[in-house]
Symmetry: C2
Subunit: 205 residues, 2 copies
């Protein structure tokens, strides 16, 4: 089937399924059901079955899913059955925390370059990676053909830096700056803004 | 109208509208339209009008929205026309970065207590706040009546710590641990997991 036709909201749930399956696999489980998975992640079993069935046959009613097989298939669909090199731009507190984060490795990503424009930070080493000047950023991205970037710069410069990343060939941007970024249609942005998430919950307080 | 009936997906967009409006206000703008707002945040003008109209009349067709008024109303709806005290549990790299983050203040939150169970970290001071032992966490939360927590502990202990937070009266948890948390119905959880966000984008690469 044409993968382009899968709604983005379904694609957004696949990494959550994959994460839960990987945690189940760590405990030694070999099979699971949509019911069990649904309980773990708080999504209905029917929704999980429907989402997964978009990509073909994964298990039979009553026999459940093979965890290793479903992990392999989801990794393949999400293209994380390989490791994507990734850069971090902006080495403030958040950039540092992300550069040292050890949760990317088994999920398809590794940080390979760090950038900042602060002369005091350039040349420093974080988690075995040197912080490079942003002056040479575009060339370095092009040469290494990196497609994935984490943006952790202040909001005031986030759009300018984004434009540079897009020109350099970046196609996926995880944005920690608290503003919406304008990008061409073939570039995807995901936002991580803790205050936005918190405000969504205070409504219910 | 009964606020409980507003779908959560609409509630989830309100903080994004608020953020964009606050940025517009910073530039000195007094009025905006659903068209302008839609362009800034990548949501259709019709969707914005429909969402906002759930909460009453905010502007007339053709005259646009008053930015200060809409900000005030959205802050009131989201209950961030006050400042919520908030704790951070888990003072690793991410906890440190969040404790030093200066983007909470003008958006309705302030970090007032930090917790960890590492004897080496307890007693350290981060951004003028002492790191407390988790042994006394439940009592401290109850005494101060804090309702909002950021969870930045390892996945292996995240559910146990969550259970403690819930017992202590926490109602909103921003979860940085890469797993789903089980909580009672009256407790809300939002997840921030960079690898999940990244995997959602590699699908399109």
């Amino acid at each position: 089937m044409n993968a382009d036709k899968i709604p983005d909201i379904i694609i957004g749930r696949l990494p959550i399924y994959l994460r839960a399956l990987q945690r189940l696999a760590e405990t030694g489980s070999q099979t699971t059901s949509s019911q069990e998975l649904g309980k773990i992640i708080g999504i209905s079993a029917a929704q999980i079955r429907k989402d997964v069935s978009q990509f073909g046959e994964f298990g039979k009613q009553g026999t459940g899913y093979s965890i290793p097989f479903l992990i392999e298939r989801l990794q393949s669909i999400l293209k994380v059955n390989r490791v994507w090199d990734m850069i971090i731009v902006g080495m403030g507190d958040m950039g540092h925390a992300l550069a040292r984060y050890n949760g990317f490795g088994d999920r398809g990503f590794q940080v390979t370059m760090l950038f900042d424009n602060d002369p005091q930070k350039i040349g420093q080493v974080v988690n075995d990676l040197e912080i490079f000047s942003m002056d040479g950023m575009t060339d370095k991205i092009k040469q290494s053909k990196i497609k994935v970037a984490i943006l952790a710069v202040p909001a005031s410069v986030a759009q300018i830096v984004t434009d540079q990343l897009v020109k350099a060939g970046i196609k996926s941007i995880l944005n920690y700056a608290p503003l919406h970024l304008n990008v061409p249609n073939d570039v995807h942005v995901q936002h991580i803004d803790p205050a936005t998430h918190l405000q969504r919950m205070t409504y219910y307080l």
